[in-house]
Symmetry: C2
Subunit: 189 residues, 2 copies
């Protein structure tokens, strides 16, 4: 049992570089240099550049999808379910602050099979969230505003968290936990 797997090193360094410049602007030589090895040596551990992207993106996408499924079928109220989704995004952001950049911006460069798998998960994710919000409106828990605007507004915020987390000390997991739900659900006025 190794302490650090080399493949893991490659993936996490790549995630960091992809966050800075985007997948396409990062070369295999960039990744190698960050690890202080030569580009060709990377291929002892990974099959291709696209495989690295897949390893960054797909696992996290699955975590989102699998978790929101269990949130939907739980017995919580709609508001509580939305709070759970917000918390899910905080947790994943704290755990993978770099990888989320590729999830948001580089997914279109996945190999074909993984791309359609990813898009299917993304669609299911939004569908589930949409059902939660609409049920909340029907049940009178949520104001009767345009549901698509509500969905867009909450998802945009929690999906972009990775851009802010770590940049200011205000963005600790604790601060977010106690403030973000309030701001998103109850507003600021």
């Amino acid at each position: 049992m190794k302490i650090t797997d080399r493949k893991t090193d490659i993936v996490s360094i790549s995630a960091k570089l992809f966050k800075e410049k985007g997948y396409s602007a990062v070369t295999m030589r960039d990744i190698a240099q960050a690890l202080e090895i030569k580009a060709a040596s990377l291929y002892n551990h990974i099959k291709s550049k696209q495989e690295i992207l897949g390893l960054i993106v797909v696992g996290i996408a699955e975590e989102y999808t699998f978790t929101i499924r269990t949130i939907e079928i739980s017995e919580a109220t709609s508001i509580q379910k939305i709070e759970n989704v917000i918390q899910l995004h905080i947790d994943i952001t704290v755990k993978n602050p770099d990888a989320l950049a590729s999830l948001n911006n580089d997914w279109m460069h996945l190999p074909k099979a993984e791309l359609s798998y990813f898009l299917q998960m993304r669609e299911e994710y939004e569908d589930i969230f949409r059902r939660i919000v609409k049920k909340g409106i029907v049940d009178g828990e949520i104001k009767n505003l345009n549901s698509e605007v509500i969905i867009f507004s909450i998802l945009s915020t929690i999906r972009t968290l990775y851009l802010w987390y770590g940049k200011k000390k205000e963005f600790s997991a604790a601060t977010l936990k106690s403030n973000l739900s309030k701001v998103l659900l109850e507003g600021i006025v």
Copy 2:
């Protein structure tokens, strides 16, 4: 006076392609093909690929910056100022639905001088927004929640509007105008 300037064609086609795949993944040959000419012909109109990016990004960044300056010094309440900022983003999104992708994701590939100009504007923009929110809290117009979380939450949403606008009929300028401020300011519960 020409009806359509060829340079404008190049810039707007490029913005569309950059939105789909990101600046680095789009080649000059891609841009040329979309215009049904050869890549070398592009250079009769533009100096470099980076110049195209600059033309997409800098003008809009200036529009944001110049407008938020006048919003700050206006005599509106803090809440009204925030509503004006939201409206500003809706207006610019409706006018430039493609260009905003590069503004969000490709700015790091600007040439050095334009990059630092862009970053300076972006910083000023956030500073102004931060002052508006903090004054609103001090004046009691805005709840005393963590101001950075408020700023992040509103900016994330209105900056990502370009990803949703046009995808659903719900996202007309009118719907956004009447719903987005409500959702962001007054919450959904």
